[in-house]
């Protein structure tokens, strides 16, 4: 097949696989989104109860985090990766391996979901020990992650073969983006796989008595921050390779995209301790180093902000705009047949605020003001529930439309991102303002702080939690419309040819890739930086740990097993 050809006939096996990988998580997302609405109402004290619809608050919060942020995002990244690699390299992926990956992820998802529904996994999506979940919960997580690795390994031979057959040619930017996503994922999930398989699973089964809590948390955050780039990078692939064409123009600079992606490979991972600024066991100087590197990882987003603005300006001028700023009015904001532009554009607008608040969090001692307050979910809903979520649900709809040959049902598809934007503006403002007044995150406040009958009643927060509930309700309504459109489209009659097609942009400045042609130097640089930034952190954690901890059931304030402090630890009561 020629590279000029923009539409590929679709392999039926890839179609079936993709529909499962988009459809099943979308179905689960109904629970995740519904859980989100309930949490805003329970936090605000509109529902004053330990549980709603049969789910305890913290159980629902665990589902909200795991379904929305892990299951939905990872399934989407794999499905999108399969399709983009196949489309951009004009080749067929090995479906046997892709199905194996899919089954591992599906079985893992079911294991985790069943345990959380059974009340055996109310440990939130961070699963911090010594709160303990059922062993099946941890085993399911491990299977899920290994499945996503298999999906990635499946693309590597295709990439190498393409490079052999196309010497001197630039790898398509979309493929570079997908590989960047999964290189970061591959590196960062190894420590969390170690945490789950070597520390948590045997401990939860009772084969080991205790584990080192701060060590486990450090391994989690080695994974937890790159995780946010794993969410963000598929959205970046869409911003760089698709948004310019959807706007009617070209990507301003191809090289800028490659530079941004390579910086993500280097700097996504050695920054994780910025989630642990408030924790003991890590030297303040190493926290400062991680803060410095975190400020560095904003640079690819500055590049993206510039390149996107320049690309949109070019598109506006192609559409006949004159003068300094009126290109801004010429963009296709509300075209029902070009809904994908709206999802990506609105995502960029929300990300502006998500990025700025992220810089605040990264700023070392400024974190004292916001750590673990409601500010945090206010911030990250403007990243993961902004550009990431909108790009993913928009592209899910787009892929279903193209792959099934069914036209999107309902003109409101283009309105969903705008309704969502209004909702999230109110929702995140409420959370962040409340957070600055001390409102904690992850807390069923309706029972205490927002309950006038409680001795802990805190009326100062009333306004902010009400804003959060109103914004959350608007976001929920946007998703009701979206789900209706998605499933109506999925189950409607086929009217067009089934195709594999993405709106890939040409580049305005189409330079040679130069030092960005290969991943190898960037991966090596990443590993060196990880060793430099994490070795002292791990040494500090080990030397400051006085004893390791037994498991606890979240419902019971005593250890789940008989526990004796090791005799060599002196528990001193004077200091």
């Amino acid at each position: 097949m020629s590279l000029r050809q923009t539409v590929m006939t679709l392999d039926r096996g890839l179609k079936r696989l993709t529909l499962i990988q988009l459809g099943v998580p979308m179905f689960l997302l109904i629970i995740g989104i519904g859980g989100g609405l309930l949490q805003t109402l329970m936090r605000a004290g509109i529902i004053k109860s330990p549980s709603a619809l049969g789910l305890e608050y913290y159980q629902g919060l665990t589902l909200h985090g795991i379904i929305n942020a892990i299951v939905f995002t990872t399934f989407f990244a794999v499905a999108f990766g399969n399709a983009v690699v196949s489309y951009s390299l004009r080749t067929a992926i090995n479906l046997k391996v892709a199905w194996l990956a899919n089954w591992l992820m599906l079985v893992g998802t079911v294991m985790v979901a069943v345990m959380v529904f059974a009340g055996e996994g109310s440990v939130l999506y961070t699963f911090y020990p010594p709160l303990k979940a059922h062993p099946i919960f941890y085993a399911g997580l491990a299977l899920f992650v290994v499945g996503s690795w298999v999906a990635f390994w499946n693309w590597i031979p295709l990439y190498l073969q393409w490079r052999r057959e196309h010497p001197g040619e630039k790898t398509p930017l979309a493929v570079v983006g997908i590989f960047t996503t999964f290189i970061v994922w591959q590196i960062c999930t190894i420590p969390v796989a170690y945490e789950v398989l070597v520390l948590l699973l045997p401990w939860s089964l009772g084969w080991t008595d205790t584990i080192n809590i701060e060590f486990a948390r450090t391994l989690f955050w080695f994974f937890g921050h790159p995780l946010v780039y794993f969410w963000l990078l598929p959205a970046y692939v869409m911003f760089y390779t698709m948004l310019p064409k959807l706007a009617g123009g070209k990507l301003f600079s191809d090289r800028a995209g490659r530079l941004a992606l390579m910086i993500f490979i280097i700097l996504s991972i050695p920054v994780g301790a910025h989630h642990q600024f408030a924790e003991p066991g890590i030297g303040a100087q190493w926290k400062l180093l991680h803060s410095f590197l975190t400020l560095g990882v904003t640079i690819p987003s500055f590049i993206t902000a510039f390149t996107m603005a320049a690309s949109l300006e070019y598109a506006g001028r192609q559409r006949g705009a004159k003068g300094l700023l009126n290109w801004f009015g010429k963009l296709p904001y509300f075209q029902a047949d070009n809904y994908m532009f709206a999802y990506l554009f609105v995502g960029l607008v929300i990300f502006f605020f998500g990025g700025i608040t992220g810089i605040i969090n990264a700023s070392y001692n400024l974190n004292n003001v916001v750590h673990n307050t409601a500010w945090m979910p206010g911030h990250f809903h403007m990243t993961v529930a902004g550009p990431v979520f909108l790009a993913f649900i928009g592209m899910s709809l787009y892929m279903v439309e193209k792959m099934t040959g069914k036209k999107v049902k309902g003109k409101l598809a283009v309105a969903v991102p705008y309704i969502w934007m209004v909702g999230i503006a109110i929702f995140s403002t409420g959370l962040m303002r409340g957070g600055l007044h001390g409102e904690p995150r992850r807390t069923n406040m309706g029972l205490t702080y927002l309950n006038p009958e409680s001795s802990l009643y805190q009326p100062e927060w009333k306004l902010w939690v009400m804003m959060t509930a109103i914004g959350g309700t608007i976001m929920f309504l946007a998703m009701v419309i979206y789900f209706a459109i998605f499933f109506k489209t999925l189950f409607s009659k086929k009217t067009e040819e089934e195709v594999l097609e993405f709106p890939i942009s040409e580049a305005y400045h189409d330079e040679k890739p130069g030092i960005f042609a290969n991943f190898k130097p960037w991966v090596i640089a990443a590993i060196i930086l990880i060793v430099i930034s994490y070795t002292p952190v791990l040494i500090d954690v080990m030397r400051s740990t006085a004893y390791t901890a037994p498991p606890y059931d979240p419902h019971v304030p005593v250890p789940a097993r008989q526990f004796q402090l090791p005799p060599n630890v002196v528990i001193d009561n004077t200091k």
């Binding site: 948390r217 924790e279 100087q285 902000a305 001692n365 807390t443 802990l456 004893y547 419902h555 009561n573």
Partner: protein, 192 residues
């Protein structure tokens, strides 16, 4: 790359460098720090408040499922409070509202921070657990009560401020500390 694009990269990098320098100045010049690695203080079992000197106290705080030990402490305005914090069970949070004290209590570890309350700032400061620590997490709250000894009754219960305030009220607090329901200014009206 386009020359404007290069300027955008350099401009963004420079801005981040400025932010980082500001962070370093706040740390070294103004002493706003984050917890560091402590190896010479071992975890303790019981919470207590020690008076080290006039207006200098040391709090040994234990955060546990689902309360703080001690649940409340009372110190006079203008005090310096050195906090050592640990947890005997799961991870907890320790956030004193309207201060820069925002800590994590991790089993097996001890953490430290220090705060000096303003001479003119009185009131009850809530102390929140902000880390999910099990099914009763939302009820885990303590109090840091900053009151002059004269305002305390014989039973160590708080009495109305206006009635118990014998000396002339100190100067009003600075403008950046607005009066609110939990931090009272002496001249800001009575509340129990």
């Amino acid at each position: 790359m386009d020359k404007y694009e290069q300027r955008a990269v350099l401009g963004g990098s420079f801005l981040m460098l400025v932010f980082f320098v500001a962070v370093v100045i706040a740390t070294t010049g103004f002493g706003v720090t984050v917890p560091t690695c402590i190896v010479d203080v071992k975890p303790f079992k019981h919470g207590q408040l020690l008076k080290l000197a006039d207006k200098h106290y040391e709090l040994h705080a234990v955060a546990k499922m689902w309360s703080f030990d001690p649940p409340e402490v009372t110190i006079p305005p203008g005090s310096r409070l050195d906090i050592f914090l640990t947890s005997p069970d799961v991870a907890h949070g320790f956030n004193i509202e309207k201060t820069n004290i925002n800590l994590m209590a991790i089993p097996g570890q001890v953490t430290y921070a220090s705060v000096t309350f303003d001479q003119n700032e009185w009131g009850n400061f809530r102390l929140f657990c902000h880390e999910y620590c099990g099914m009763n997490h939302h009820a885990m709250q303590g109090w840091i009560k900053v009151w002059p000894a004269a305002a305390l009754g014989a039973t160590n219960q708080l009495a109305p401020v206006a009635a118990q305030q014998p000396t002339p009220a100190p100067a009003p607090a600075s403008a950046e500390k607005p009066a609110d329901t939990t931090t009272q200014q002496p001249n800001g009206g009575a509340q129990q």
